[in-house]
Symmetry: C2
Subunit: 106 residues, 2 copies
Amino acid sequence: MTESVETSITALDEHTAEQLARTFKALSDPTRVRIVAALAERELCVHDLAEALGMSQSAISHQLMTLREMRLVRFTKEGRHVFYALDNDHIDSLFRQSLEHIQHGE
Amino acid sequence: MTESVETSITALDEHTAEQLARTFKALSDPTRVRIVAALAERELCVHDLAEALGMSQSAISHQLMTLREMRLVRFTKEGRHVFYALDNDHIDSLFRQSLEHIQHGE
DNA sequence: TTAATATATGAATGATTGCTCATATATTAA
DNA sequence: TTAATATATGAGCAATCATTCATATATTAA
């Protein structure tokens, strides 16, 4: 394969590749997957999320921050609680589609 | 939210979450995204992949190894070449679906 | 007011990752 | 045979990441 390639290979441009990778990275961690799964059911506050996942408040809070930066979740303050919800249909359907694939065999 | 939560929150079990996260991790890196994009077009040997992406043979070879471990690509040896192809429809459709989402707005 | 609860956040840390560089092996060409 | 090409792979390294721990702020309850 030294001669210039016949039908030229058009690689996906770097910017698009990075955008895509960033999207998938959002769900590349089990904790974030579980947070998204929980929020796909319903809105939840940090404390209940931490309890549901059996993880520290701090760990959940940090992950919620990264999900916020990715604009995958939105939040509303209510008293001393902060309720989080999914803020991105794309991620929701990506999550649901993949869950189905995993659950009903490859 | 101290009282045990009304409608109990059933967190996604850890095993499924890890499986899902692993799947997304496969496409969480721009280089792997570009490799998958190229292979979604057609089978390619390592050298041509490296050329198409403008990256070192070693870098591509290492990434192909991780894609192999994830069973996302298969390969066939032909003389001194090794041709890689996608080996997982799920990843292919995950890739295509997400690409569409990114290209035709959120 | 003081105490308890809910959340956020910075620093520290160990683990993972993506790459380079050097090198080994295999195949083909001269 | 020797040289060139294609690929794989181990070591090393800098960067990123997920978590913990300590602590700060805000809100509600006593």
